[in-house]
């Protein structure tokens, strides 16, 4: 579903991704851990072209991200095509980024109606079903401000799912939450993983990574230092940097 080969990205002179190789199969849950500044969030943002890569190849579902290849030449995609590709990838942000001027329901039905052209009744029906799925049935008419962080993040997940994505990206979805609210969000993500969704999760939740993840990648300094089955990497890290990092977070 996601394949990265030698992916490079720099901001000015600062190279944040220095050749990333990884592969996520359909239905897999990939967890990425690493210290701040290691490039994990940048990698996630490259996958739906919120950031443009400067080198290497990045593919989603067999399609290059942000470019089209013809006769060995790369052509940048137009805004319309980039938007169409993004519509198939759900994204959940650290700070939720719900639209504060819209109710919970309006947040969820906005994109299905405006982007996919779904009839309103259908979008509303789907939104209600998703709200039930994330445990927030009956909160349709509240504004995001009136919800707790955990509830807001669950609405954000429902909003992303409303587009029927083939891949879900999570950017530290629980980092901005009070400790007692982390569990409710992880529970929703766990259910989502069980339902077979392909997920790419940047996280600090080792428990979640160990239990739900199919793969674990440890990044540092813009490269993948170590990867493998989460249990092995966490219990038995091979690299010094991985050991040092894990000893701090576990």
């Amino acid at each position: 579903m996601v394949r990265a080969a030698g992916v490079r990205k720099r901001f000015g002179l600062n190279e944040v991704l220095r050749g990333i190789d990884l592969e996520v199969q359909r239905g897999e849950v990939m967890c990425v851990i690493g210290p701040s500044g290691s490039g994990k969030t940048t990698l996630l943002r490259c996958i739906n072209h919120l950031e443009q890569i400067h080198g290497g190849r990045l593919e989603v579902d067999g399609q290059l991200v942000g470019y089209r290849e013809r006769d060995g030449k790369l052509y940048e995609l137009r805004e319309r095509e980039v938007a169409r590709n993004r519509a198939q990838i759900g994204m959940v942000f650290q700070h939720f980024n719900l639209f504060p001027h819209m109710t919970v329901l309006e947040n969820i039905i906005e994109a299905p109606i405006r982007v996919k052209g779904l009839p309103k009744e259908q979008a509303v029906e789907k939104a209600r079903q998703l709200l039930g799925q994330v445990g927030l049935a009956g909160r349709e008419d509240t504004y995001p401000r009136q919800l707790s962080g955990g509830q807001q993040q669950r609405v954000a997940i429902a909003r992303a799912l409303a587009m029927d994505p083939k891949l879900m990206l999570f950017d530290e979805p629980t980092s901005a939450l009070d400790p007692e609210l982390v569990g409710e969000v992880l529970a929703v993500m766990r259910d989502l993983a069980k339902s077979g969704m392909t997920m790419f999760v940047v996280t600090h939740e080792m428990g979640f990574a160990r239990e739900v993840g199919d793969q674990l990648v440890f990044m540092d300094g813009g490269v993948v230092v170590e990867s493998g089955a989460p249990r092995d990497v966490i219990a038995n890290p091979q690299h010094e940097r991985t050991k040092a990092f894990l000893s701090k977070v576990l």
Partner: protein, 325 residues
């Protein structure tokens, strides 16, 4: 605010002597004296045996037909000029934020020019533009024209005033709208983009509605300012409110009473605009704390006069203004 509760669940009221504010009363008394003097001179003082302010004359002209026509034209000028200002200003703001340097540069140039010259000069300029462009042709650039406009007839007093006021306002509105747009968190744009929305739709559905909260108060300010700036149109003899009043006192020499008539009308329209702004702010404040109305000065006055209750629910860190009487 919750009261402290003992284990049985009964609230223990705190009895305390509230802080006195003697200086509030002293200042209040001084202002009251000035107010009484003002009322006295307005209502009762005389000059040469006649009421100084000639309220009878004011009442006579307040609803005179030429004055009402002037009011009508002032409102028309204000509404149309603000419409030009808001629509053109919003486009200029979006252009200013465009990644295309030529587009954003053109917008910057426009703002520089129209903010940098007096609006009165601009009104004159448009009024006399026909002197250097008697005919305007719309067609292929440097080629033949299809539509020909006779500028001497086209640029009347209203058109000149509208162009002068509206184009100038657009420059100011552009900056107000731009401030509103950049006040919206970037995460909003990213979240919308991640959902597959395109730039124009993100601007229209996500960014601008949130920017409105920042845009509306200064726009209300601009509208009220515009209402009064329309009086500049008297310089090209457009009979708006002020010029209508002037035409009357030029004949009967009741200068001050007619200026008061005009002032009362300006105040009345401003008050209506003020109420309109309040409701607009409430509409766009949805989902925020700003959506709730503020306590009015009248209510604060009432709280100052009526004694604070001797029972104050305990909230050591809160200020007095948070207490419910």
């Amino acid at each position: 605010m919750t009261s402290p509760q003992d284990e049985a669940g009964t609230a223990i009221p705190i009895k305390a002597v509230p802080v006195r504010h003697p200086w509030r009363w002293v200042v209040g008394a001084i202002i009251a004296v000035f107010a009484a003097m003002l009322v006295h001179t307005l209502a009762f003082s005389t000059l040469g045996g006649k009421s100084r302010w000639q309220w009878g004359v004011i009442g006579h002209y307040l609803f005179a037909t030429p004055i009402l026509h002037g009011v009508e034209r002032t409102i028309l000028l204000t509404v149309l000029a603000m419409l030009i200002g808001v629509v053109l200003g919003t486009s200029l703001a979006v252009m200013r934020l465009s990644p295309n340097p030529i587009v954003s540069g053109a917008s910057a140039l426009y703002i520089w020019f129209f903010r940098g010259t007096p609006v009165l000069l601009q009104i004159f300029f448009w009024y006399y533009i026909a002197a250097i462009y008697p005919k305007l042709s719309i067609g292929i650039p440097f080629g033949p024209g299809f539509v020909h406009i006779d500028m001497t007839n086209f640029i009347g007093k209203l058109t000149a005033a509208l162009l002068g006021l509206g184009l100038n306002e657009a420059a100011y509105m552009a900056e107000i709208v731009r401030a509103g747009i950049i006040s919206v968190d970037e995460g909003q744009t990213e979240a919308a983009a991640a959902l597959g929305m395109r730039r124009i739709m993100i601007m229209r559905r996500i960014v601008l509605p949130q920017a409105m909260r920042v845009i509306i108060p200064p726009t209300g300010n601009e509208t009220i300012s515009m209402l009064k700036t329309t009086s500049l149109a008297f310089t090209i003899a457009y009979t708006e409110l002020l010029y209508s009043a002037q035409l009357i006192y030029a004949n009967n020499y009741k200068t001050i009473p007619l200026l008061v008539v005009a002032a009362l009308w300006y105040l009345a329209i401003t008050s209506v605009l003020y109420v309109g702004q309040y409701f607009l702010e409430r509409r766009y404040g949805r989902g925020t704390v700003f959506g709730q109305p503020n306590e009015t000065a009248l209510r604060r006055f009432w709280r100052m006069v009526s004694r604070p209750p001797s029972h104050i629910s305990a909230a050591p860190l809160s200020t007095g203004s948070e207490h419910e009487p």
